[in-house]
Symmetry: C2
Subunit: 350 residues, 2 copies
């Protein structure tokens, strides 16, 4: 079976071409049936490919000179959709030249370009940025929205729940993933009106392929007893970054603690396998790859500061979602379970 | 100098009397000039005091039969302000029988009762829940609001900034504590209108005794380069709990990692001083004690699940704020630096 190609925005991210190509090469070693469309400066891409004949054999290069910068406003970047590596990678998904696009560039610009080029699915008002987070349980938890939409109404949150559950089915294999709405308390009376209304709608729509378990507080996200955590993009971004920052904070404290005495240093050396395991769990590179859900096509955001290993993980996430046909699954779920009734049930979106 | 008493709601919290009394006794050993008013069931308080003659000598008991339960609605609890241990502890602050109150009970009820009995200060529209969080720097960071106000406008956020800076002056000794607003990006265009408007007002009011440094993302809260992080109660609660949950998550992972092999166990034993240091940093009991700022009196919330050590820390925070006259300092700042101009500058509060 010939699988669709993955378009890589080779110019995005803090370190640009070298890390993106090295990451794609790492991913290609793990998923050797995949092919790539590498978008960006041809000379630099070719130079980076010198060390990766394996990737070179599976890739085509699409040259362009223009790059979206990290601090550019989305509206400004949008005008250069046809000339930038980010815009052309997304356009390849639109034309069918690629099945999915990966970029480590400006998140706002990526979102704006992807939305304009690929459009939202029928039944979805707004796409959401979604990522996997580690838990104490067997599976990662799907969390969305992580920053694409600052304000969300009840209808958005219900749509995010349906999309998140479709993603989680791929990850957990559960027919009815356990979904919760992020809130500041677990009682029904807590939180904003949008949250209470979304909870009421999710309780009412028992035909959905998900198990709605009510509200969840931010300290329970990674306990392993929830598969999908749904939230507006503002709170989701705050929660995601608070989690990342705390993991890094603890890792820094641990390093200081172990360096505090000779005895600690010896203990550290002996217990290195344990601390390596912890490091692996906490390294955001091992959870890299946030997906825009709700578009007619797959677009994955790699963290701007991700290492080659991080990029490889983002590409692996992309490959898996392509193989498992995430977009088609979400579409089927929306058609099958009366997306229109949810549309009508909610309020008008902005 | 005779210092004012601290009223302790002896009945609140998951474990009630025993932990509250043991915590107060621990605190009393560290702050031996303080006196206590213990509010609750006299028989049980007396029994718990048997083991703590030191505390008994410094305490008076105010008996009552009624207790606010953990899942009670604030409106319901409010009606029993005159008969419950929580209500009577707060009332003691109102009448001057105590200088401050500490409770580990229902947060919503505590907030509602404190607001009704003590009223907000002139120049403050809404009180905010504030706590100290550990950082990699020398001092803890003051964070507010942590859940008292789900929605906040620009004026609320500016008032929180002034109150947080007054708290931070006590903690850091800085004349102009570094204040930032929590947001999902550091660029000026990011976030809600309330955040952008609050930033504009803080930039304009250079006469305030604080240094406004713009926005901060949730992964930078504990880097040690900010003294006060200001946010609405919804986002603040999400951030606080995400931080607490991640710290616990990492501690659990660490435990598992160290238990994974004999070698790791040996390493753990040798490096125990290091891991104990880490545990100390991560234990929420060592950061217990959230203060309602903006009221005409000091009310401190101890975590419902805090240990005796945690309660002792909450009492110690209370003692310090009393000694350092936090309420008077906030009041002076509000009067001195034109609270009225800020009131007029903002929008009407809800």
């Amino acid at each position: 079976m010939s699988l669709p190609r993955i378009a890589i925005d080779a110019m995005g991210g803090d370190e640009g071409v070298r890390v993106m190509i090295e990451g794609a090469a790492l991913a290609r070693r793990r998923h050797d049936r995949f092919k790539f469309l590498l978008v960006g400066d041809e000379v630099r891409i070719k130079a980076a490919l010198e060390n990766h004949p394996n990737l070179r054999a599976a890739s085509e290069i699409l040259h362009c000179d223009d790059v979206v910068s990290g601090d550019e406003k989305p509206t400004q970047a949008l005008r250069r959709a046809k000339t930038t590596s980010m815009g052309l990678a997304i356009n390849a998904v639109k034309t069918g030249a690629a099945g999915a696009a990966v970029s480590a560039g400006n998140t706002g610009a990526l979102m704006a370009m992807a939305k304009l080029a690929l459009r939202t699915m029928p039944g979805i008002d707004r796409p959401a940025l979604s990522a996997l987070m580690p838990t104490l349980g067997e599976n990662d938890v799907v969390m969305l929205d992580l920053g694409a939409n600052t304000d969300c109404d009840a209808r958005n949150l219900v749509q995010f729940s349906i999309m998140g559950a479709a993603y989680s089915r791929i990850i957990t294999g559960r027919d009815h993933p356990r979904v919760r709405l992020l809130n500041i308390g677990s009682e029904e009376t807590k939180g904003t009106e949008a949250l209470r209304e979304a909870a009421a709608q999710l309780n009412a729509h028992s035909e959905l392929s998900l198990k709605f378990d009510g509200f969840i507080e931010a300290d329970k996200i990674n306990r392993g007893d929830v598969d999908v955590v749904v939230t507006d993009g503002f709170s989701g971004n705050i929660a995601l970054k608070a989690i990342e920052g705390t993991a890094r904070f603890v890792a820094d404290l641990l390093r200081r603690s172990f360096a505090s005495s000779l005895r600690s240093k010896v203990g550290f050396l002996i217990s290195r396998p344990a601390t390596e395991l912890l490091k692996h769990h906490l390294d955001p590179n091992n959870h890299n790859g946030a997906v825009f859900l709700g578009l007619n096509g797959i677009v994955v955001k790699s963290h701007g500061s991700a290492s080659a290993l991080g990029v490889a993980n983002a590409v692996a996430v992309t490959a898996r979602l392509l193989e498992e046909k995430l977009t088609e699954r979400i579409q089927a779920e929306l058609e099958h379970f009366g997306a229109e009734s949810i549309r009508r049930g909610g309020k008008a979106a902005g």
